[in-house]
Amino acid sequence: MSARGRLVVAAAWLCAASSLLAQGPPGAPPGPPRPPRAVAPVDLTGYWVSVIAEDWRWRMVTPLKGDSASIPVTPEARKVIDAWDPAKDEAAGVQCKAYGAAGLLRLPGRVHITWQDDTTLKLETDAGTQTRLFRFGATPPPGEKPSWQGHSVANWERPPQTPGAPPTLPIFATRIGTRGRALEVTTTHLRPGYLRKNGIPYGEKVSLTEYFDYYKEPNGDEWFTVTTIVRDPQYLIGPFITSSDFKKEPDGSKWRPTPCTAF
């Protein structure tokens, strides 16, 4: 290769290297990968309260029977909605159907987030006294049984990439979106439940993708918003997308665990 050719190749590799380096944590020393807790780009731990500025009459009170407004339900779901009977749910011991992962963070209440260990983020709710575990780098073990909170796999959001795209050398381009701060959680293995307390159903094939975004306001208030994408081929005609807003509290003095109720 000529000297000029080597010059171009060197420039291209310099470009590629700088682009790849930009995707790692700033200032990360070389060595073995650090655990998710150590490289967390934001701190989501603490007590948070849901502030109900949206969907108030579907969240702060149990909506009227038959009210599925805003949710893209299938005709099959409509039959379930019209048959909703909270007394039957209580009698059957399934009063937690509205407290499953797909609907849990829409309920009014407080959440408490802590690191259970270096690779597991724990989210507890006082509404229904539920616990979700966000496991980094984990896949559901074979044969895992469905549960109200299912199996959640977490990662710090990776830079955007076109799905299925071949690897490219970044000639004449740099990569953007490399400074992600969101927590991405994918949840499967859920027991069928309700998206709302008035019996809007999700089925056993449901999956859930969530993005937790942290931000701080000029008045010092800290918030996170979780964007939730529910996919259910049985009861939804397409993805059901909501975003729920939580404000940080100084301590757990307002934490008030309550049991599930179907009413």
């Binding site: 420039a11 310099l14 500025a53 702060m60 009227l64 805003s70 009014p108 740099t174 918030w223 975003s243």
Partner: protein, 319 residues
């Protein structure tokens, strides 16, 4: 036989091409990214929250979820929807930039770049009232307080990681809900834009010293819709109520419709009046009984989940 197209070039030009190519590569690497995230494209709104309020429109006197003060309630209670028909300045009144992100929000976003391909501004277009907006990314300051106020206001943005944080001032008076809940021209709006794959989430935080007792935080979602094309918008003024001599309104204490919303949906009347206290979970502990006996089942806007095809009174299921 030439092994590549480059071999076909004469030597002096080839040498220049190599040097230029290497220089361009190094320049591309040395230059900071034009943006942390590219929000450019066609975005279709998702109305999976408050659909009945945002599409067909809110019920009268529904102030739920809004941290209103008494001044805001007083003004909202005087609202009469005939005002839109009678008062010409209301007929083609645009959505402000903050309400526009909540209301009829098909959205196109593109970038303005300078000659060095650095980001100067994001620009947005929404066909509802033909609203165009500029979000300056070049570090310029906001104008002084006495500068002109517009429906879109003056917006500047900064990056916080992949999140774009926008501050908007200088908006005209508008509304937080299309049933007369007012927004003052002294409000400041902070937005946080985040893109997760094909989804865009915009969080809006409104601080309004005139009508809100605490910041109003809401979040809206879009999906990337490569097949979307947005039309132009036209609005013509017309006399819809011939001979009208006054601005339709309800004087304090004289609005007969303020309890309808609570009665239709089986709600406590005090909760429908809004206020910061009603937005926190503990309010459920002190919430009183419904204003009247609730209906056995939903009777209004029960199945709205898409666009405008939302029946007020859907057919009852066969019994």
């Amino acid at each position: 036989m030439a092994r590549s197209g480059v071999r076909l070039l004469a030597p002096p030009f080839r040498r220049t091409l190599f040097v230029r190519l290497a220089a361009a590569l190094l320049f591309a690497c040395a230059s900071p990214a034009a943006a942390q995230v590219d929000f450019s494209g066609q975005w279709a709104p998702v109305y999976h929250e408050d659909n009945a309020e945002r599409i067909p429109g809110p019920e009268l006197a529904d102030y739920t979820g809004l941290p209103l003060n008494d001044a805001a309630r007083l003004q909202a209670d005087s609202w009469d929807a005939d005002r839109i028909s009678v008062v010409s300045s209301y007929q083609c009144r645009p959505h402000s930039s903050d309400y526009g992100m909540r209301g009829l929000g098909n959205l196109r976003v593109w970038t303005e770049l300078d000659e060095k391909q650095q980001l100067v501004a994001f620009r947005t277009y929404m066909p509802a009232w033909g609203s165009e907006r500029t979000i300056w990314m070049d570090g310029r300051a906001h104008p002084p307080e006495h500068a002109e106020h517009t429906f879109q206001g003056f917006s500047t943005g900064v990056w916080e990681g992949n999140m774009l944080t926008i501050t908007t001032t200088h908006q005209k008076t508008n509304y937080y809900r299309r049933n007369g809940v007012p927004a003052s021209d002294r409000r400041t709006v902070v937005e946080h834009w985040t893109r997760h794959g094909e989804f865009l989430t915009v969080i809006t935080v409104v601080t309004d010293p005139v009508f809100l007792t605490e910041p109003l935080v809401r979040s809206q979602n879009w999906f990337n819709d490569v097949g979307q094309a947005l039309p132009a918008f036209t609005c013509e003024y017309a006399t819809e109520v011939p001979g009208a001599q006054k601005v339709p309104n309800h004087l304090p204490g004289a609005n007969p419709y303020l309890t309808e919303f609570a009665d239709w949906y089986g709600l406590e009347l005090a909760a429908t009046r809004g206020g910061a206290e009603t937005m926190y979970p503990e309010y459920r502990l002190k919430m009183g009984a419904p204003h009247s006996k609730p209906p056995d089942r939903c009777q209004r806007y029960c199945a709205c989940s898409g666009g405008f095809f939302c029946d007020v009174n859907p057919p009852r299921p066969a019994r």
